[in-house]
């Protein structure tokens, strides 16, 4: 009986030893990183398949040498499965982490915004490594919004690979450079900050030409002092005994100008969109 | 079909013999083969229309509902036979060659039909001359190479052959002749419905009359009542057969009667009001046959056997003159009046819907037997000189008709539609509908190649969109030629672009640019080196089914895919399996002059 128990124990021990020896056939690192070389220890002869997200690597191995995977081969972060086939038949799961931040996808909205509006500009940055693996570890991202060299900067730590910010538009019109940067990587977007509605719209008689009276506005600015963009429509309306005359003029070089027929007693008004300007009386008493 | 021959033992010179039909067919091949292979006919007015229909049959044999035109229409509104043959051949030789091949078959059938029809009225030699004449008709060349009226050129010879068998049946009561006549009549109806309507009057009535006159001729011994009753049987069976083979057509017509406003057409004008109309509708189709008109009048009325033919010819000729005489408008108006009284309907005068150029062709066919008699007498009198002159005149006639579009172009400068088709077939552009402006008949070419659906189309009778039917204009692509009606129809369609999913407009003619620019389309791309521009309207939803028109049922689709082409196959099988017995040779030619024919050579 004792002999039998002894034999049974010996068999169990051999089984255990054999199993332990088998487990050592694939020696996978615990801290694999995408884009970095990977060394996998093997024993026996066979084929190793590494199956990752959207990627498969195949290697033959002989007499238990290490398998070297180059950094540029191991591109995908995430869950991988290593399967060995040959003398041994085994599979193991291992995880590959993303590499260091090297790419940013930056969504800036909107592309065009009126000046001096609170919280109208949003920026969302997605942080990726060299091989477009989303970096889930918290990473500081710097957002910088500047017009003409002046502006604001803010650092936000990403969560689950995403960092976002919002900001007011500057009081100064112009193409704002909205830059997101992480490490040595930065992405630039342009947010056009445009003048708001005209403010204090005024016109005056600038002279005569071709039997017409030339009406010209003062430089047209919004309430923050930004020039209203060229091309904006300014309507001049003259009312006299012969009827109404209107010219939808375009702002050029900051001012709008129109030629209206000469009249001995006319009232001229000016408007841009729904904003009204001053009123002129020409020909009679002003 | 037996070839004509001459009486044995008669020693006659070459011009005095009947020309074998095989020679005539060879002549047809020699004249029209090269012209067809040059693909001149592919540029004809209706060629792309037929190819468009055939392309649909090639893909959807049993589904006649075609969504590529008018936001969806049923092809059961047009008899399908020759288009279905094209569809079959297209799988082997492609659509362009299939069209040419099917057109060639029609051209080869014509001398056979004319010969058989002429034999009712004249002798073998004159009939063979008539067959030769049919090959060189200006009206045939005009229909084939300018108008592209494949259906008319197919239906006419089938009717003519059918009438020859009907003549045999009416006089002799042969069942096989009746079967052949019926099969050919149904095949002809499957080829063209308009020919069916008019040929049943203008071709058939003279044959009924001559059958009555000939009831005791050539060994026949029929009674008047017998001829009339057999004619009635033929008419009744034909009517039943035609209703059956074109059943989906009648159902479509009943569901959607043609209610469109009259569309202007040159063939309804007075041809003497403008020079080009006279050339286009008289000189080109009639050619040298105009010289024979006095003879046709004299001979046709002098010989009692030819009078029925002459009256048929005369009436057809007046119809061929369109609006030059008041008679067609008057007669068709009376016909509409009678229909209205009987049915209580409100049918407009068909004169305003019909086009009359095909009547020249029919009048020519009816004149050929009499003209052939003139040729016989001239050749008998002047021999080879007359043959040479007649041949030259006929050659000039066909040459003038073929070349007429060169001197009076019907198309603008050629341009490529490949980029237009390519645009429509990529990136999901076929989710929306499109329109072409200034494309002419190239519109059908786009329709054949593109998967997308158009609101326009080339077959006026199939239009159901109210924006099109309530105005007297034809295709939107040519709307500027229809005056206020055309442009108002175009405006009405563009106004409803949202409903129709009409997003893309391809403009070939800058005339249309102001309207579409003011209506909210933007020019986005240019094709074919600036020949064609693409205009896009934003905010248009993808196209969806419109409520106009009902697709044919599955059973109608099966009937449409089997019966019309089946009738032509049955006719072919009857002709092949039961060939006509060679007729007894006839030494006497019409007109009979008992003393002359045999002795003339001896003199």
């Amino acid at each position: 009986m004792r002999k039998l128990i002894f034999i049974g124990l010996i068999v169990a021990l051999c089984w255990f030893a054999a199993d332990c020896a088998h487990a050592a056939d694939l020696n996978l690192p615990k801290d694999a990183v995408a884009g970095q070389p990977l060394s996998i220890g093997t024993s026996g002869t066979g084929t190793l398949y590494l199956i990752g997200p959207g990627q498969v690597i195949k290697r033959e191995f002989k007499s238990g040498g290490n398998i070297e995977i180059k950094g540029e081969e191991l591109r995908s972060a995430g869950r991988w499965i290593a399967i060995a086939r040959g003398d041994v038949r085994q599979s193991q799961i291992f995880w590959v982490k993303p590499g260091k931040p090297e790419n940013l996808n930056f969504l800036a909205r909107p592309s065009r915004v009126p000046v001096a509006r609170p919280n109208v500009i949003t920026g969302v940055a997605f942080i990726f490594d060299k091989y477009q693996n989303l970096i889930l570890d918290p990473t500081p991202v710097n957002f910088n919004l500047a017009v003409g060299g002046t502006g604001s900067s803010k650092t936000v730590t990403s969560r689950d690979g995403i960092a976002w910010t919002n900001s007011a538009s500057a009081p100064k019109a112009g193409a704002a450079q909205f830059v997101a940067s992480v490490g040595g990587t930065q992405v630039r977007r342009v947010v056009q900050q445009v003048a708001a509605d005209p403010c204090n719209l005024r016109m005056h008689v600038a002279g005569r030409a071709n039997n017409n009276v030339v009406i010209e506005t003062d430089p047209i600015r919004d309430c923050s002092g930004n020039p209203v963009p060229d091309g904006t429509i300014v309507s001049f309306i003259q009312t006299d005994r012969s009827g109404r005359s209107t010219v939808d003029s375009r702002i050029k070089k900051g001012i709008a100008r129109a030629e209206l027929p000469v009249s001995d007693n006319a009232t001229i008004t000016v408007a841009a969109g729904v904003v009204l300007g001053n009123e002129l009386h020409v020909g009679g008493k002003q | 079909m037996s070839s004509p021959s001459i009486a044995p033992g008669r020693q006659v010179s070459l011009p005095s013999r009947a020309v074998p039909l095989s020679w005539v067919l060879l002549l047809a091949l020699l004249v029209h083969g090269p012209l067809l292979l040059m693909q001149i006919t592919n540029d004809s007015y209706d060629a792309d229309f037929h190819k468009f229909f055939a392309a649909h049959y090639a893909q959807h044999w049993f589904n006649p509902w075609n969504e590529k035109w008018f936001t969806g229409f049923s092809q059961t509104t047009y008899p399908p036979m020759e288009q279905q043959w094209m569809a079959l051949f297209s799988h082997v030789i492609g659509l362009n060659l299939a069209y040419i091949f099917v057109q060639l078959i029609a051209i080869l059938l014509l001398p056979i039909g004319v010969y058989r029809y002429a034999r009712i009225w004249v002798g073998e030699r004159a009939a063979s001359y008539a067959a030769i004449g049919s090959v060189l008709l200006g009206s045939l060349a005009s229909l084939v190479y300018v108008d592209g009226q494949l259906s008319t050129t197919w239906a006419a010879p089938l009717y003519l052959i059918a009438l020859a068998y009907f003549y045999e049946w009416a006089r002799e009561g042969k069942a096989m002749a009746l079967a052949k006549a019926l099969a050919l009549t149904m095949a002809a109806a499957s080829a063209h419905h308009v020919t069916l309507l008019f040929a049943s009057v203008i071709f058939t009535i003279p044959v009924v009359v001559i059958a009555l006159m000939d009831r005791k001729r050539d060994g026949a011994d029929a009674t008047t009542a017998g001829v009339i009753s057999r004619s009635a049987i033929f008419a009744a069976l034909s009517l039943g057969g035609i209703i059956l083979v074109l059943l989906p057509y009648w159902l479509a017509l009943k569901a959607n009667p043609i209610k469109q406003m009259p569309i202007p057409h040159g063939s309804r004008e007075n041809f003497f009001s403008q020079g080009w109309l006279a050339v286009n509708y008289i000189l080109v189709p009639w050619g040298a046959m105009l010289l024979a008109v006095p003879f046709i009048f004299v001979k046709g009325l002098k010989e009692s056997r030819l009078r029925p033919l002459f009256f048929g010819f005369w009436l057809t000729m007046l119809f061929a003159l369109g609006g030059t005489t008041p008679l067609p408008r008057m007669l068709l108006g009376m016909l509409a009046g009678v229909v209205n009284v009987i049915t209580g309907a409100n049918v407009h005068n068909p004169f305003d819907i019909l086009t009359f150029e095909r009547f020249s062709f029919w009048a020519n066919l009816m004149a050929l037997p009499i003209v052939a008699l003139l040729a016989v007498s001239l050749i008998d009198r002047y021999g080879r000189k007359a043959a040479f002159v007649l041949g030259t005149l006929a050659a000039f006639t066909v040459a003038f008709a073929v070349s007429w579009p060169v001197y009076h172009p019907i198309h603008d400068a050629p341009f490529s539609t490949a980029e237009v088709i390519s645009f429509l077939n990529r990136d999901g552009h076929d989710k929306f509908r499109y329109l072409t402006l200034g494309f002419g008949s190239k519109m059908s070419e786009v329709g054949i190649g593109a998967n997308a659906s158009s609101v326009d189309g080339e077959y006026n009778s199939a239009r159901l969109l109210p924006e099109m039917t309530q105005y007297g204009s034809a295709q939107l692509t040519n709307s500027k030629y229809y005056g206020t009606n055309g442009i108002e129809s175009l405006r009405a369609v563009l106004k409803h672009a949202d409903q129709y999913g009409l997003k893309y407009i391809f403009v070939r003619d800058p005339y249309y640019e102001p309207l579409i620019a003011f209506a909210g389309w933007r020019k986005t791309e240019v094709y074919d080196r600036g020949n064609v521009s693409l205009w896009v309207k934003d905010g248009i939803s993808p196209a969806h089914r419109t409520p106009y028109g009902t697709p044919p049922t599955a059973m109608e689709g099966i009937l449409w895919g089997t019966l019309p082409i089946g009738s032509s196959i049955i006719a072919l099988l009857l002709m092949l399996m039961f060939p006509d017995k060679r007729r007894k040779l006839e030494p006497i030619e019409f007109p009979l002059n008992a003393n002359e024919p045999v002795l003339r050579e001896a003199r």
Binding site: N105, L107, A108, R109, P110, R112, V187, R189, V194, D197, G231, T232, I233, S242, G243, R244, S245, T246, V247, D248, R250, A258, E259, G273 | F272, S273, P294, F297, V298, G300, L301, K302, E303, W314, M317, L318, L321, T324, T325, P326, L327, K480, I487, E488, R491, L494, H496, A497, D498, Q499, P510, Y511, Y512, E513, P514, F518, G520, R522, D538, G539
Partner: protein
């Protein structure tokens, strides 16, 4: 017998052709003032210019070339895209030597049907009535340099190679300022104004969907050409959407649909609208008249005038439009006229005219 029949049929054929062919010669002398006007335009319609000119009185002081250009248009104007369709005439006054004939000309043009009503003076010359053609004064713009700071917006769209985060240029902000639904002539009309509030040009379309009491959509229409589709920054356009045959009582609600697109555009040309006034035309109908002045240096081929009429509460009560059949040459005033409904004329407190245009590419 045969020959007699042949002669009878030949005569019959010729007779029928003669009946169909015989019609009054268009070039016969006019025996009435109306006949002269009809004959002149009849010939013009058939492009028989010699025939048409033969009905022009010598006192008109217009040469044939000028007469033809008057009828067929100049400078790529709408008239050059037109065909005369029909002519209606009515004699207003007639004496032995002269008469006035009111002539309503109907044209098929590239943008739709166009009517032109004129009172033509007809005089008797050498025993025949002839039309005293009111020759148009051909305008020649003097050689000059017109400085234009050519202002336009070009757009660089997002390219296929850009990463997915790269933003595209956004569509402009526009706003429907007002909407007024009225029932006129058995149909429902929805009109109002729309403004481009942005600083970039906008391509706009405005439509409406009508919903009945059961909540079902009953009709959908768009403003089609009763709107200015390209709006520059801060520009306001009227719009009008017609629903023929729909009663206001059958409609529960109106759902406005619109589409604003950013498009490349030019700020030129500037078209002034001068001397606008409401008055009656020669037929007694109320019209808004004025002059268009092209202040830029290039020809505007087809001007399209949109007029907005407001009541004293500032509400849009009518929108009408008209295409001018004359091109706008630089710095040259050109009269225009837009119809106003007679029944609304009394309610009109003020109005505004905007000009849309089509210029042919050179």
């Amino acid at each position: 017998m045969g020959r007699i029949l042949a002669v009878i049929f030949a005569v019959l054929t010729v007779g029928l052709i003669a009946i169909g062919t015989v019609h009054g010669s268009r070039n016969a002398q006019a025996s009435t003032p109306e006949g002269a006007v009809q004959a002149m335009f009849g010939n013009a319609k058939g492009h028989d210019w010699n025939g048409a000119y033969s009905y022009v009185a010598s006192s008109s002081n217009v040469d044939q070339g000028g007469f033809i250009r008057d009828l067929t248009g100049r400078n790529g104007s709408l008239r050059t895209y037109s065909q005369l369709d029909s002519v209606n005439t009515r004699v207003l006054h007639e004496s032995d030597t002269e008469a006035t004939v009111r002539t309503e000309l109907k044209y098929a043009t590239a943008v739709g049907v166009s009517f032109d009503t004129r009172d033509l003076k007809v005089v008797k010359e050498d025993g025949a009535w002839k039309v005293q053609w009111p020759a148009e004064k051909e305008v020649h713009v003097p050689p000059q340099v017109i400085p234009v700071n050519y202002l336009r917006w070009d757009i660089v769209w997002r390219g296929a190679g850009d990463d997915w985060g790269a933003q595209n240029v956004e569509n402009p902000n526009c706003r429907i300022l007002s909407m007024n639904a009225v029932e006129r002539d058995g149909g429902l009309i929805i009109m109002g104004e729309v403004e481009n509030e942005d600083t970039v040009p906008a391509f706009i379309t405005v439509g409406a969907v009508l919903t009945d009491n059961a909540g079902k959509d009953v009709a959908e229409e768009s403003s089609f050409d009763k709107i200015s589709h390209v709006l520059l920054p801060k520009e306001v356009s009227p719009y009008r959407i017609d629903f023929p045959g729909i009663k206001k009582s059958d409609v529960k609600s109106v759902r406005m649909t619109h589409d604003w697109m950013l498009v490349p555009a030019s700020a030129d040309p500037v078209i002034g609208v001068l001397h606008q006034r409401i008055e009656k035309d020669i037929t007694g109908r109320t019209v808004l008249k004025g002059e268009l002045l092209n202040e830029s240096g290039t020809t505007v081929n087809i001007p399209h005038v949109l007029a907005t009429f407001y009541d004293n509460g500032g509400k849009v009560i009518w929108v009408s439009d008209a295409y001018s059949d004359h091109a706008l040459l630089p710095q040259t005033p050109q009269p225009f006229s837009v119809a106003l409904r007679d029944d609304l004329a009394a309610n009109v407190h003020t109005y505004r005219v905007t000009v849309n245009h089509y210029s042919r590419e050179n």
